[in-house]
């Protein structure tokens, strides 16, 4: 759906902060096409 509306899904490194510390995970988020 993102493709047809002028956006694309991109993999993003997302930072997570818990009381035990910080780490990152790879998630998908749609973004406007550059």
């Amino acid at each position: 759906a993102a493709e047809s509306t002028g956006r694309k899904w991109e993999q993003k490194q997302v930072q997570i902060k818990t009381l035990e510390g910080e780490f990152s995970v790879t998630m998908w988020a749609s973004d406007d096409k550059k």
């Binding site: 997302v14 035990e20 510390g21 780490f23 790879t26």
Partner: protein
């Protein structure tokens, strides 16, 4: 004219209403005029967000990650990560409120993610749990709140002048001033109103409003204002702010005076009636009269554009099994177009002149939404789609009798997804209870 009174506002909970009746809200993508419409196809079940953790003893605001379990318009049923198949702590939230964030927002803003206390004991390594649950999952774009903000800005401003249909004489327009803008809906006050209460609500994309000078340019009747007091700051709303209509070629075979057709009665939107072209205006506009109930002076003729989805060729209702309202006082029932045309010495407007586009709108019967009561257009009410005929939707107002139902086009700017009122700050009229109606 049937109109509803305002229902006293008590807390109406869309989420509970949807869940307790197992209902479906029309998707945001069905409403081209609302904020985030084109983006919303990316908001699906399973998308993760960061949201306030309400299940904690900590005194500071803490957050946790939740996934979308079910969507209804702008609202989502959310479940905190860690509850697996346990729905007991699920909660509804409007995704456009400031408390909803894409995953990663907490870390960027120095806020810790803390698991709800009900499940804190369930896991000894929350990092490993979150890595497993979130890797490869979807979240909102990092500029989600910017998108929400940008899509809720509107070009109409207070004190802009527009031409709008005169609600007491549908055949003419008047000048009105924009007094208020909420979610793209305008409260317009007629220019000669002494106390500012003679007003009219409509959406900025309504076919009922036009730029100053429109009436004169197409030959529409217009009530001139006799305003002695000049108000500082008045400006004419720029013409590019208004809905554009399709260009039409009126030079060849075109609508002519006295041609017959079927039209939604602007004074009773529940009915499609036998109607007549009373006057052909410029730029594709037509003055239409409802047969059998016209004032002698034509003061209730109504202006529809030739491409309007509210006018139909003779026979449309019969083909689509819709009850056609015959002319008032016409006794030869059941109504037959063939006989009526012969008796009145008139001819039907050619089918080829009507708008036959049917957009892939996505609405389904039974879907819930927020809809304007066009007989009382300041009211936005809890409503249901009860019938779909091509692009035409039958809107039922929950808790009200069927006689209040209205035929509305699928692209009407007076239809909104569940949660639109909350998003824009517009007051929602909840379903009427029996006692309130009486």
């Amino acid at each position: 004219v049937k109109s509803k009174s305002v229902v006293p506002v008590e807390e109406f909970d869309w989420g509970r209403y949807i869940c307790s009746n197992n209902l479906v809200g029309a998707p945001v993508t069905c409403f081209k005029h609302v904020p985030l419409c084109t983006f919303w196809s990316d908001v699906t079940e399973g998308v993760r967000v960061e949201v306030l953790n309400s299940d904690t003893n900590l005194s500071t605001k803490v957050y946790w990650i939740a996934g979308i379990v079910k969507l209804a318009g702008f609202k989502a049923l959310l479940r905190y990560e860690g509850f697996d198949n346990d729905s007991s702590h699920d909660f509804w939230c409007n995704l456009c409120v400031p408390e909803i964030h894409p995953v990663g927002w907490c870390a960027s803003n120095g806020k810790p993610l803390v698991p709800p206390k009900s499940i804190q004991h369930k896991c000894s390594n929350w990092k490993a749990f979150l890595v497993k649950r979130l890797t490869g999952a979807k979240t909102l774009p990092s500029d989600f709140s910017v998108k929400v903000h940008e899509s809720t800005q509107y070009p109409f401003k207070k004190l802009m002048r527009v031409e709008v249909v005169d609600k007491t004489h549908l055949c003419r327009t008047r000048v009105a001033l924009v007094e208020q803008v909420i979610g793209g809906r305008l409260r317009l006050v007629y220019e000669e109103s002494q106390d500012g209460t003679d007003d009219f609500w409509c959406h900025m994309y309504s076919p009922l409003i036009h730029s100053i000078g429109w009436s004169r340019s197409i030959g529409h009747r217009f009530k001139r204002s006799d305003v002695s007091k000049k108000i500082e700051g008045l400006t004419d709303a720029p013409s590019q702010l208004f809905l554009k209509v399709k260009d039409v070629d009126q030079s060849g075979d075109w609508f002519k005076d006295n041609m017959k057709l079927e039209a939604i009665d602007p004074l009773n939107l529940s009915a499609i009636c036998v109607a007549t072209v009373r006057k052909v205006l410029a730029d594709g506009y037509l003055m239409i009269g409802i047969d059998g109930s016209e004032a002698a002076d034509g003061s209730d003729w109504f202006c529809y554009h030739s491409t309007s989805p509210s006018i139909f060729p003779a026979g449309f209702c019969e083909i689509n099994s819709i009850e056609l309202t015959p002319p008032r006082g016409y006794s030869k029932l059941p109504f037959k177009w063939f006989d009526y045309l012969r008796e009145t010495g008139s001819r039907a407007a050619p089918v080829k002149l009507f708008n036959k586009d049917v957009p892939n709108h996505g609405f389904r019967e039974g879907m819930k939404l927020e809809a304007v009561d066009l007989m009382e257009p300041r009211l936005v009410c809890v409503a249901t789609i009860t019938r779909i005929v091509h692009r035409l939707l039958r809107i039922h107002f929950d808790g009200w009798e069927d006689e209040y139902d209205q035929w509305v086009d699928c692209e009407s700017p007076d239809l909104y997804p569940v949660g639109w009122c909350q998003l824009t700050g517009y007051q929602l009229q909840p379903p009427a209870a029996q006692a309130t109606r009486e």
